[in-house]
Amino acid sequence: MFSYLIRRIVGAIVVLIGISIITFIIAYAVPGDPARAIVGEKASEEVVQQVRHELGLDQPLYVQYFAYINRLLHGDFGFSYYNNQPVLDLVLSRLKDTALLAFSGWTVEILIGIPLGILSAVYNRKIADYIISVLSIIGISLPVFWFGMWLIYNVAFKMGILPIGGSGSIMHLILPALTLGIAGAAYYQRLVKSSMVDVYNQDYIRTAKANGASPLRITFKHSLRNGIIPAVTYAGMDIAFLLGGVVVTETVFNYPGVGQLAMQSIQRLDVPVIMATVLLAAIIVVVVNIIVDLLYFLIDPRISLT
């Protein structure tokens, strides 16, 4: 366990370094001159040179990279080109809302996906299973933004029972969470079903069946727990999916999270904000994955940690 933990964390550090290298490359591939952008066009070449020097832009690339890492480690993500605010503050203040949305989306996935998965496993190859499977594949094929628009038009605009967009209350969260979670719910349904069906086919379940245990008892005693384990691991991959999905969902519902911030920053060419958003999102994905791995271990210690 301990050596696994160490290996896992070393691996994660390597990945984090990889992430920082990639964002560094993208940020510094900016066409144009960051120094010129800062001082403005009327500034003389001398001033530009000076700023370039101050920013270390005249240093070799690897020196710049270490300076960049050093700044990141000190929590210095630079200042927004748009409103001069510290980028970290801007992103973190939005991250709270995004986390709330992502968590709500995940709740939708779990609340819809797992029960449907169980149902379709219990009624494998029966009508219920087929209906659920069809719904599930439609769910996976449903474009997030289209589904969001459809909900806005029909539920919010025509029926007027929920707000069109914005944030601030539970009511504001319902439609975005549904939009965000619907595809993921379909994935969970598939995962839970396939792993539960696998368990059903295992010898010990057959034995239990032969001994006259009721199907319901089998489901809840044996296969459910084993069926849910893969679903937990999937949560690790799911976080990247959710963080990508929030970009679209937040845009459609005008929800003030990091996705919307990133989109707004594109037209403002606010590179520091965008880079910080991407970097933080990737870091979150890595961290959540470690946590999920550990949870996985706690749930089922039999699993070999290779």
């Binding site: 691996g11 390597v14 990945v15 990889g18 992430i19 990639i22 964002t23 993208i26 940020a27 591939a29 900016v30 066409p31 594949i137 439609i138 996976i140 094929s141 449903l142 474009p143 997030v144 933004f145 289209w146 628009m149 459809w150 806005i152 038009y153 605009f157 598939r190 079903k193 396939s194 069906v197 991959m237 990247a240 999916f241 963080l243 990508g244 999905g245 970009v247 679209v248 845009t251 459609v252 996705g259 990133a262 989109m263 920053s265 594109i266 060419l269 606010d270 590179v271 965008i274 880079m275 958003t277 991407v278 999102a281 990737a282 870091i283 994905v285 890595v286 994955n289």
Partner: protein, 303 residues
Amino acid sequence: MTNPNVSTVKASAVSIQQQVKKRNKFSRFARSYPLIIIGGIMVFTLAIMAVFAPVIANHNPITQYPEGLSDIGTPIEPNDNFILGTDSLGRDALSRVVHGSIVSLEVGIFASLISLIIGVFMGIVSGYFGSWIDMIIMRITDTMLAFPFLLFVIALVAVLKPSITNVYIAIGILGWATMARVVRAEVLKVKQLEYVQAAKALGSSSFPILFIEVLPNIMGPVIVMGTLAIGQNIMLEAALSFLGIGVQPPTASWGNMLQEGMRIYQIAPWMIYGPGIALIWATLGFNLLGDGLRDWLDPKTGR
């Protein structure tokens, strides 16, 4: 003069027999793998739509028709001339939906090929050679998988110009990682097969073994993944165009049509439905086909 006749009759009898046989075989196949058939038909209609777009569309997709706008400058609802109505610039929605399939398929197929080629190569190398090569490649895939895709594209767009090229670049950089993982797992299985071991023992050099012995054995999962990837990439292209950072105007794409629909649904709800249904049709088609192919080619890894 009789002979030829006889022979034709015979020939046609034979062909009918063959056809019947074929049909039986086909219907048996269709019954076992209905998803392949349904998905295949959906994908096929999509391909037809794309190839014959100029014939099917009764208007030019980028022309802004004066009669396509009302007196107060709003879109026209569906009528005989504009079957799916017009958009807020007076363009024919049907023609744009039809032409939108070209972009979708193009991006879907080529982007998937990019990720497939890189992914298969990395996966095979990683799985076959193992040790430190494997470790490096797997850490790289971990890194790539940590980036939420859309946010990554946004970062690219911030430094490049918004265009569909970014989709290819982003998929080239990130999209292969999942593929590589699956391929690696398959390769690890295949590696243990006797004849691969035998080839190795006989001193074949690595590359021939990789591509002659290993690759054909993992084609099943690769085809399945490729098919599913097309559906996903079509969806991604639409999402990016919806956000305004994919296909640029005036080119018709379902994503940017929906973006427009988003702004005028109060008075032009048809702008949500045309491109939306087309998009769902496409992604659903490829997903069904992919699932079906998995049941057929790769039953173990399926559901």
